[in-house]
Amino acid sequence: MSTPRIACIALISRNNSPLHLHPFPSSPSPATLKYHFLTHATLDVFAARLPLKFNGDSDFGLLYSIDEELAAYGWLTNTGVKIVVIIDLGGGGGGGSAAGLGVKDGELKGVFRALQTAYIRLVCNPFYEEGGGGAGGVVRSRRFVEEVRRIGEGWAPGGGGGAGAGAVGERGVVG
């Protein structure tokens, strides 16, 4: 049984249009379309949970899981940008596996923070225009895409890559 890994990272604008979707591994595959659907489905969960959320936290935790194989986690910033990370739990069947337990609560916080930091760097670029640049507002910044790829590939359960990536990203902004 393999360890959980990030299968897809998606950013969605406040108007629910996709800003960026990055599947891992990043080569285009039929799975990409599946991730688009899965991400789309998370929007309802965000909408349903939002009125019940009073703690002011951005973390929406586990949104839903599918077949003990994929689990979608969400993060909503105060400006309405949604970040969704889909985890491949690596269970691949077998009832006794750790599927569903693969990722602890809050273990993705570092990843979300790093992604939010990357997004901040993106919007602070004076040449960036939200919704501009054709293709329905999809982000085309090479630096941002590269950063998302790095975060996605660097993460491992247990706080290794993700948290580290967050720390690096945050230093970048503060400095």
């Binding site: 760097r121 602070c124 670029n125 004076p126 040449f127 960036y128 085309r140 090479r142």
Partner: protein
């Protein structure tokens, strides 16, 4: 004045006599100016460069007064000293960076400033339109500032960027050339 003394003066003035302002405020303000110019001139980056330089020139004309008052600097003996003062006092005091002075020509009239960091360009990614990377000098205002400031102290210089990390160059480098020393009789700023 030696390079180390210039560095000390810069450090000292920056610590004690300078009002600080949030770095992101500066970065984003400058970014808005450049982006707005790019929109106003509809992507004519050569014109944007020119406008940035002109804005910088007008800043430099005034800024030198503030600079001299805050630092109590005397006259520089030669152009080499001027270069050290610009890098270690001027940039230190106003932007808290110290670009490296290097690549002197043998006649001591031309040098390069290498910017290891550039607070103006934080967050920036040039537009991916195939032209900005080759035409826009994002931080061109700095060239104008130097030209304006030095003109007020009787030095006519030419300053332009020859490399920018934003464009994918190895380093951000500004080339400064002393054109001539302006005679005192001439009213400054008149061409």
């Amino acid at each position: 004045m030696s390079a180390t003394k210039a560095a000390r003066v810069g450090e000292d003035v920056w610590k004690t006599r300078i009002d600080k302002v949030n770095a992101e405020l500066v970065t984003l303000t400058y970014g808005s100016i450049v982006a707005q110019l790019c929109r106003d001139f509809e992507g004519d980056y050569l014109e944007v460069n020119k406008q940035l330089e002109k804005m910088g020139y007008n800043i430099g004309l005034r800024l030198i007064e503030d600079f001299l008052a805050k630092t109590n600097m005397g006259k520089c003996a030669n152009f080499r000293e001027t270069a050290e003062t610009i890098a270690k006092v001027g940039f230190k005091v106003f932007l808290n960076i110290t670009p490296t002075v290097t690549n002197w020509t043998t006649d001591n009239k031309q040098f390069s400033l290498i910017f290891e960091e550039n607070p103006l360009a934080d967050f920036v990614e040039l537009p991916d339109d195939g032209r900005a990377q080759n035409e826009l000098w994002y931080s061109n205002m700095l060239c104008g500032v130097l030209r304006g400031a030095l003109e007020m102290v009787q030095m006519q210089v030419d300053a332009h960027f020859v490399g920018d990390i934003l464009r994918g160059n190895e380093v951000t480098e500004m080339r400064v050339t002393l054109v001539r020393i302006i005679d005192d009789e001439l009213p400054p700023g008149e061409d």
